[in-house]
């Protein structure tokens, strides 16, 4: 595998990857407190009536730097409507707050989509062994909540375990409704193959298991995403390079998007996310893996903090059998384009016209 296959490869040639050299502004001391204050005043003037409750909550914790940052965050605009300067201010504010909170220099990337890039993903279901290394790598990379209480533990990837199913002579005469004298079943009631009704809480001694196959599932980054359509505040939207993102600071937590998603890709932060300092990944993207807050929705974003800098998403990198392929759909030589050209591919729930950019294929 060479770097050429990943999207933004051309751009990445000039810029070093984000994780190697953090942006210059990562130093919290270098960020500008002046702008924060001005923002504070400006916002206070125009939006004073907008939210008394939030104000009350913030007044309670006068942890000055943090409170001021959160106060200013409270009045910032939808990310897409921010000017470049406002984006910079928001970025600095977050970097400062996160760095203080997690006790290490945290960078918040705001790299925009690269022209000529449409990200795509392909997964070889024949190869997947159900080891779930992708699930764990994703959690480590993307700062998901790791709490113990139900709902506090968030994973974006589910590896569905599916029975291979078996047909047998004994089942020849089985069938519901039994005892009525009409046989309508038999072996027909044996599940087999991909039915998208799987179990992801499996715990075998070793994978792959003999009687099962596996189908990983996560956000499909649809070209016609139903979640975007139902969002009442347009906080979730499709970026220019095809990734569906969420501005966590604008999300009102109405959960309409979760109802609309046919792939159950979205998760809700029911509590303040549990993210231990030492486990926090300090290389973040504003629309990607930066730490989230209570009451907002999150989901897979194909590791924007990596993929916009010419690197593979964490799940692709970690997959031990190479089942996961990622690249630029507009580049005919990218791995994912070659898969589409040469393999049999299918999309999940294609009948819903969501047009996922996540393809399944098999050898």
């Amino acid at each position: 595998m060479t770097d050429q296959n990943t999207p933004a490869a051309a751009a990445a040639g000039e810029h070093p990857p984000a994780c190697a050299v953090p942006p210059a502004s990562a130093d919290p001391a270098a960020s500008a407190p002046k702008t924060t204050r001005r923002d504070f005043l400006k916002a206070g003037g125009t939006l004073s009536l907008s939210s008394l409750m939030g104000a009350g909550a913030l007044m309670a914790q006068s942890d000055d730097a943090r409170a001021a940052a959160e106060w200013a965050e409270h009045f910032q605009k939808n990310y897409r409507l921010m000017t470049d300067q406002e984006k910079d201010e928001a970025r600095l504010r977050l970097e400062k707050r996160y760095s203080a909170e997690y006790g290490k220099p945290v960078t918040v990337d705001t790299t925009a989509p690269q022209p000529g890039v449409l990200m795509g993903y392909a997964l070889n279901i024949r190869k997947c062994i159900g080891c779930r290394r992708c699930v764990h790598a994703c959690v480590a990379e993307n700062n998901q909540s790791r709490g113990k209480r139900p709902g506090e533990k968030i994973e974006w990837i589910q590896v569905l375990r599916m029975e291979r199913g078996e047909f047998s002579k004994e089942k020849m005469n089985q069938g519901y409704p039994e005892g009525l004298g009409i046989q309508v079943g038999g072996n027909a009631y044996t599940p087999a193959g991909q039915v998208l009704e799987g179990q992801y809480h499996y715990n075998p001694e070793a994978v792959p298991e003999k009687d099962a196959n596996y189908m990983p599932i996560a956000c499909m980054q649809c070209e016609k995403p139903p979640c975007v359509k139902v969002c009442p505040v347009r906080t979730t939207y499709r970026e220019g390079d095809g990734v569906v993102v969420i501005d966590y600071n604008w999300c009102i937590g109405c959960r309409m998007c979760m109802g609309a998603c046919p792939y159950w890709a979205r998760r809700f932060n029911v509590a303040n996310p549990v993210l231990p300092k030492e486990e926090m990944n300090p290389v973040t993207h504003y629309l990607g893996n930066r730490p989230r807050m209570r009451g907002v929705v999150e989901k897979c974003h194909w590791c924007l903090q990596r993929s916009r800098h010419g690197r593979y998403p964490a799940c692709v990198e970690v997959c031990p059998v190479g089942a996961r392929k990622f690249g630029n759909l507009l580049d005919p030589n990218s791995e994912v384009s070659l898969v589409l050209a040469r393999k049999n591919v299918f999309r999940l729930k294609a009948e819903l016209n969501t047009f996922p950019k996540f393809f399944y294929f098999y050898d």
Binding site: L47, A57, P232, W250, C251, I252, P262, A271, R294
Partner: protein, 403 residues
Amino acid sequence: MKQLTRFAADYVGYVLRGGTKFYAWMGSLGVLIIGMMYVFYLQNTEGLIVTGMTSQIHDGLYFANLVFLVGVAAGAVTIVFPAYVYHHEGMHKVAVLGEMLAITAVIMVMMFVFAHMGRPDRLWHMIPPWGIYSFSSMLGWDVLVLNGYLILNLVCGFYYLWVKYTGGQVNKKWFMPLVYVAIVWALSIHTVTAFLISTMPARPMWFHSMMPIRFITTAFAAGPALIVLIFMVVRKNTKFWVDDSAIKLLATIVTWCLGIAIFLTMSEVVVELYARTEHANGLYYLMFGLHGLTSLVPWFWSAVVLMVGAFILFLIPRFRNDMKLLPIPCVMAFAGIWIEKGMGLIVPGFIPTPIGEVTEYYPSFVEVLLTLGIWAFGFFILTILLKGAIGILQGEIKYGAAK
């Protein structure tokens, strides 16, 4: 202007005075309201983890009540429509009470919206010019029509009361068109609420075009059933007399809307369970349970018993015509629809999840208390609004009478 301040002062002065029974009623509601405020605070500091909702089943008791109460708000049109379109005399006398109920129900809906949100502090993000209004979102439309309905009812209701207060004449030139708009608007609020959940192919249980008409028929059964009960209370506790003719017409409306609602439910059961595709899993879970999980089964069957039982009782003349017995089927219809359209519709929509996971939802104490508190708040403002309206209709609040 002077008249207006007098009106406000007279109105407030009148509604705040009352007997021991009044203060006891308002006081006990107040206790629940204080409880609600505490759990709302808890929910917005701890997060929705204090509720039973999860990423699998992320709409629960709050959303169920929200949907149901939009129906109650729309149900007020069952008074306004006969009053102004069919010029039904008994109804005309009480039309303004229907508007007061609509105002209350919409306010309760908005409180449930606040309870449901993960970030109620950011609700202004929906409101231009500070926020963004999304025309593609059904929730955006729902907020729009609900607020419109609230304003229409506030204007129509209080203008009518104001005219009665000053002793003038209703200016029909703009009042009547506004009433007609409000009638159509009532249908729109519940239709849009139905669209809220029926436009998601990801949730096959909701994804059918029967949803809006089912919402409207259940609303026009539950709404008037509640109104009949309220009228009974009003007749008992105030000097205001609601005509039998009005109550009987409402009972007839409840009967036939309930009948249609039962028919629609039966049609759904036949269509879904005959073919029994995976898309019927939600309904199957509701009726019989799935993979051994059966927490909603008793709810569904009790709703069936309540609704069918109420329908049969309504058809028996002895129940229909006896004002002492009529509240029984009304309570049954109201409770049955509350279950069927609330927990019985919202929760199984998430079971199984789109990837086939079957989990269950149990409302937590916080959710129950918050829900009770919002209902208490609803009854609190409804008492005030009805008291003020009845005082004006009775001529006890009148311009110049105070001195």
